[in-house]
């Protein structure tokens, strides 16, 4: 059967005229001998004929070429466009940019400005008062008035320090180290005034009122932005004046002990000044951010914030859980700037305000305000009042000398001096060996009044102390009487020092002589 199929396949090729002459001859021989093959051949021929006759040629399409070339044209246009699209796009962009710049030359500047605004907007979001984050105490307000320092978070690890340079131009700095705890200047001040309960309450209310006022002066947010109101410098003066005025009214005598004799505040002047500071339209803020530094207006809604604070206080009272949440919320607003790395790029950052100089150290970032104008307070006797405030600030700073408590049997103590106002970098450490000192107060008033000179002492360390002694800074701001006595004493000590030097030299000579002697034979 298979062989027959093979023959039929060859028969099919025979009908198609696809066999070689030899194959044709062989097949024709087979066909002549086989009626079956002849029948099959006829069948195949019939099928072939049927197939051929069943299909008519397809009619011509008159628009075939037209359509084809239209499609090709479209196709080639697309391809050309694809090829030239980048170049065309670039040229079109350049041309359109040229046109835009021709008719609107400020186009690019506007874009840059818009970007600046966007950046400014980003950093202006969610600003909350510093009080919210740092929870300012009376001491913080006091330190702000006289030491120009405000803590930036509730852990008091970073501070905002205000100041002015030698040319009188203001600066501010954000620094890691603030006043040291042992200074306790505020406590000393309160102690000195010896206030009664009524006065204490009044003082507290003044301080808390300023804490409220300061709310809108320094704003912070969760993006490490510190927005400093330009009126803050004036506020500091006002608070200082108000505190001193209060101190003067409360206990003038005690105040005079730590202030110069001629020191006096006129109450109406101070009130006028405070009112003037409060009335300044203070919506200009200096925004200090990790990326940039700029001056912009910002409307802080005090009333809205008061409402929020009221709700916040209610929340605080509700329960411990809520309190914890709020504590976490508050921590978010504590400013934590990395002074070493984060702010380093500020030096290169495009600053909105020109002439702003930035000095970055490992523990502080100082910004000289340059052209930024602190809003002036118009007062007829402003100069004199300002001079008094400045002088008083220095006095209070001098007043805060810290001398640790010294035991009678103690032979050595460390003496930290931080006296120069506005210069927080310089400090001096003295190791003073003074035996038999009754109390630190005596050193302060008359360090050597009760000194028993007949007792043995270490002359070298005493001499060293005198060499390091900076009389100007030490005596600065003391009552005149003490100062005169101290100067007299200093002269005596100079004489004594010379005598001691002479004695020392003589002793050395003696010791040399002893050495030169021959040993005694026993």
């Amino acid at each position: 059967m298979k062989k027959f199929d093979k023959d039929i396949e060859i028969l099919s090729a025979y009908v198609d005229d696809e066999l070689s002459p030899e194959e044709v001859r062989e097949l024709e021989e087979k066909i002549s001998l086989s009626p079956q093959l002849r029948k099959k051949l006829a069948e195949i021929r019939r099928l072939k004929e049927l197939t051929r006759s069943s299909f008519k040629r397809i009619s011509e399409a008159p628009y075939f070429e037209t359509r084809l070339f239209a499609a090709l044209e479209e196709n080639s246009f697309k391809r050309r466009m694809k090829k030239w699209l980048p170049v065309t796009g670039f040229v079109a962009l350049t041309l359109s940019l040229m046109l835009v710049l021709k008719f609107n030359p400020e186009f690019l500047e506007n874009i840059v400005e818009e970007q600046k605004l966007n950046l400014a907007g980003f950093y202006k979001e969610n600003l909350k008062p510093l009080l919210f984050a740092a929870d300012l105490t009376n001491e913080d307000i006091f330190n702000f008035a006289f030491y120009n320092q405000l803590p930036l978070d509730n852990t008091k690890s970073q501070f905002l320090q205000l100041g002015s340079d030698s040319s009188g131009k203001e600066y501010f700095e954000i620094r890691t180290a603030g006043l040291e705890k042992e200074n306790d200047n505020f406590e000393k001040f309160v102690e000195t005034l010896d206030m009664n309960d009524f006065q204490k309450n009044k003082f507290d209310s003044i301080m808390s009122a300023y804490a409220e006022e300061l709310q809108s002066q320094v704003l912070v947010n969760d993006k490490n932005t510190v927005a400093i109101n330009q009126n803050l410098w004036n506020y500091r003066k006002a608070i200082a004046a108000d505190i001193l005025k209060f101190a003067q009214l409360s206990n003038e005598k005690a105040l005079q002990d730590v202030m110069p004799v001629l020191f006096r505040f006129e109450t109406p002047d101070v009130e006028k000044m405070v009112n003037s500071v409060k009335s300044v339209n203070d919506n200009e803020y200096i925004f200090f951010t990790p990326d940039t530094l700029f001056v912009d207006t910002f409307e802080f809604d005090k009333k809205e914030f008061q409402k929020d604070m009221e709700e916040f206080r209610k929340d605080m009272q509700r329960g411990v859980e809520d309190y914890k949440i709020n504590q976490a919320e508050m921590k978010k607003f504590g400013v934590k700037l990395k002074l070493d790395s984060t702010l380093a790029k500020l030096k290169r950052a495009p600053k909105v305000e020109k002439n702003i100089n930035i000095f970055i150290d490992s523990n502080l970032c100082r910004v000289h305000l340059g052209n930024i104008v602190i809003p002036p307070i118009q007062l007829p006797n402003m100069d004199s009042l300002e001079a008094i405030i400045n002088e008083a600030t220095k006095q209070v700073q001098a007043f805060s000398f810290t001398i640790p408590k010294i035991d009678k049997n103690m032979s050595k103590f460390k003496y930290d001096v931080k006296v120069l106002p506005g210069d927080s970098i310089r400090s001096f450490n003295f190791d003073v060996r003074i035996p038999n000192v009754d109390s630190p107060g005596r050193i302060y008033m008359d360090p050597f009044q009760n000194y028993n000179w007949n007792q043995p002492f270490n002359q070298d360390s005493l001499a060293e102390w005198f060499e390091n002694f900076e009389s100007d800074s030490f005596f600065y701001g003391r009552p005149m009487e003490i100062e005169i006595r101290m100067k007299e004493f200093e002269k005596e000590m100079e004489k004594f020092k010379h005598e001691m030097d002479k004695l020392k030299k003589e002793l050395k000579k003696d010791s040399v002589q002893v050495k030169s002697k021959k040993p005694v034979e026993v």
């Binding site: 396949e9 099919s12 198609d16 069948e43 195949i44 069943s54 359509r67």
Partner: protein
Amino acid sequence: MSLKRKKKVLQPSPRILEIDDDFSLIKRFIEGDETTFRTLVYRHKEKVRNIVYLTMNYSDSVDDIAQEVFITVYKNLKYFRFESQFTTWLYRITINKCRDHLRKLKIRNIFTPVKDIEEVHGYNHINENMDIPDIVRKAISKLPEKLRIPLLLKDIEGFSYQEIADTVQCEIGTVKSRIFRARESLRNILKPYEGEL
């Protein structure tokens, strides 16, 4: 002077013969003379359309497929290697295009109800009222693609086995076998109509 010129015009130049050749047209196309493509289209469009018509079994999309064939040729003509006849290359493209369409059609039919397919194409049923060519066409349309295409290329288009082998890209023996099998199948399909045929 004018006589001389006249003489030149009248004399059949060897260049004209060269122009008639597919290869020279393609060479000129590659050199940048895109007008020669029009000549190629004019020369081969009917053959291409017929192959499409036979292969696709219905004439609705013949011109669309034929156009696709020529667009593909236009895009790839510069890569033509002159190793085979242009027609072999052209018909191979044509058959491949038809196969692509048939494949798409099969996939589409999977998601179409059987009734709809029959209504649209209607080639699977052979009615008693049909005439002989209709019966034969319907019977051929029932053949599988790999048997139908060689059979039609041979019996209708008159291709040689070698040409069919080049076009459908298989061995010549395979073509021979497929055509035989196509005829055997066709005979079986048409058996009920033996008397009428």
